[in-house]
């Protein structure tokens, strides 16, 4: 599950965000003339009260970090439990007469097998365009309750939600409709202590398998929970009525194991987990095969097609795509950021870094990017052109930090 995040900017040390327009009356005028008011999630006041540094993101004012700082927030999430306000993301319900009807409608837009998604299960997929490129990536959940048969819940990226929902609505058959859930908030709880934390507030959550979902209650407030996230850790995403967001956020924060985590650490966590960020690692030009997301296209759909760009997908599976998304580990300590040119050892450009930075858990720099497919093997030696100098690096497997998703013990060895 990906979302766009604050763009890394190369800026003079100390210059705060928003000063780009200069100082004084000119700036005020520019602001007044150009910038529409930023939206707020129901937790905006809570972030400000916690002393968060707020930044514009996908049209919202969001916390990039709290006073603790990105490094500490990242490490805390992997050591204990962090909560993330992700209410800016787009939640919606697809509704048809029965599961098969709704699933088929969605299958005409995404390459995943939705028809065979079991009740109470969640799946990751992408909205594709006619060229087989990715319009957005999203999570699809089938409710566990019989009474909800025919409903599918979608969670899409904040920056794409208006466009995504319009795209879907324009392509729905008679009898299937889209209902936006703008009245709902979303809080992610991630880290090894997530289960014990959440179990203090609701029932039936500790045993939920990874990528499962259920309705339950949090301190008596109805919520919809999935066991999934964007960090590589065990954790949950909790969908609640906006009116209850503050109560649930506050209750979680009162737990000694929990700290609030901003978008900065969210980005470094997902990067270490090898997860894509829409608009950076995947976009309208990248196909699921190029993006190394073929695992999310189940066998039946690879064979049958029936989604936009199916021909391209089938061809790329048969013949290999022109380029491939890979993990990259610089040999030295200097990070290589988005946009960095990737070179073969002879100096020829073979690709571009699409996400890069520093991994606090890894203790060093890491990156993701696209390279010509012949350079995509793990261990391939490449150069990264950083500040005009080629710095040695290698293609690396992802995740960079092992995933710790919850799998219930089966009793077998």
């Amino acid at each position: 599950m990906a979302e766009t995040t604050v763009e890394s900017t190369v800026q003079t040390a100390g210059q705060s965000a928003g000063q780009a327009a200069g100082e004084g009356p000119a700036r005020e005028a520019a602001v007044a003339a150009e910038v529409p008011a930023l939206k707020s999630t129901p937790l905006h006041g809570a972030h400000v009260a916690l002393g968060a540094r707020m930044v514009p993101f996908a049209g919202y004012e969001m916390p990039v970090q709290y006073p603790t700082g990105i490094l500490a927030e990242h490490l805390h999430t992997r050591a204990s439990a962090g909560i993330f306000d992700v209410s800016h993301m787009g939640q919606a319900f697809l509704m048809g007469s029965d599961h098969a009807t709704t699933a088929r409608a969605l299958e005409s837009l995404v390459p995943a097998d939705i028809l065979n998604l079991a009740p109470g299960r969640q799946r990751y997929t992408q909205l594709l365009n006619e060229e087989g490129g990715i319009l957005d990536d999203l999570m699809v959940t089938r409710p566990s309750e019989e009474a909800e048969d025919g409903v599918l819940m979608l969670i899409v990226n904040a920056a794409c939600k208006d466009r995504d929902f319009a795209h879907i609505e324009a392509r729905l058959p008679q009898g299937v409709r889209l209902m936006r859930a703008d009245h709902r908030a979303l809080v992610a709880l991630q880290g090894p202590k997530s289960a014990e934390v959440l179990a203090r507030h609701g029932e039936g959550v500790a045993e939920m398998p990874f990528m499962s979902a259920r309705t339950t209650h949090f301190d008596g407030l109805a919520c919809h929970v999935s066991r999934s996230g964007y960090t590589g850790e065990d954790g949950y995403e909790i969908s609640i009525k906006s009116a209850h967001a503050v109560a649930i956020w506050s209750a979680l924060l009162r737990d000694g194991a929990v700290k609030p985590i901003g978008l900065g650490a969210r980005d470094s966590l997902r990067l270490e987990a090898g997860l894509c960020l829409y608009g950076h690692d995947i976009d309208a030009t990248t196909s699921p095969v190029e993006a190394a997301l073929t695992w999310s296209v189940q066998k039946r759909r690879r064979e049958e097609g029936g989604f936009p760009g199916a021909q391209r997908l089938q061809r790329e599976l048969a013949e290999a795509p022109a380029r491939k998304r890979v993990g990259i580990l610089p040999d030295g300590k200097a990070p290589a950021r988005e946009g960095t040119e990737i070179q073969a050892k002879d100096g020829r450009k073979i690709g571009t870094v699409t996400s890069g930075g520093f991994g606090p858990t890894l203790g060093g720099p890491l990156a993701m990017g696209y390279v010509e497919t012949s350079f995509a093997a793990i261990g391939t030696e490449i150069d990264l052109l950083v500040r005009g100098k080629p710095l040695p690096a290698k293609v690396a497997s992802m995740p960079f930090v092992p995933n710790r998703y919850f799998r219930p013990p089966t009793g077998a060895t």
Partner: protein, 125 residues
Amino acid sequence: MSDTKFTKDHEYVRLEGDTATVGITDHAQSQLGDVVYVGLPEIGKAVSQGGEAAVVESVKAASDVFAPVSGEVVAVNAELEGAPSTVNEDPLGKGWFLKIKVKDTSEFDKLMSEAEYQDYLKTLS
């Protein structure tokens, strides 16, 4: 520190004889957040006032450090390679970046005093 001057780009420079010690200010390290990497110049490199001298990176962003005075790089703080967080902990002391041998001390004289820098910071918020 009577012999420490400051720039609008939040570098400080401390002149002792003709050797200038350069780093980033407390304001800069606080804005930057946790420093994870420092890229220092080669010893012997010629730098001019306002030109790129070093790079300092946080988890999220890379920032240029500009030379506050012109001259030749005569020393760099090798400790920062293994412990970049020193920049956050003691920016004006152990977190120094580089030393420049200056030719023209009048460049130094024209920079902001500490009081002027503090006033300047107030205009930014």
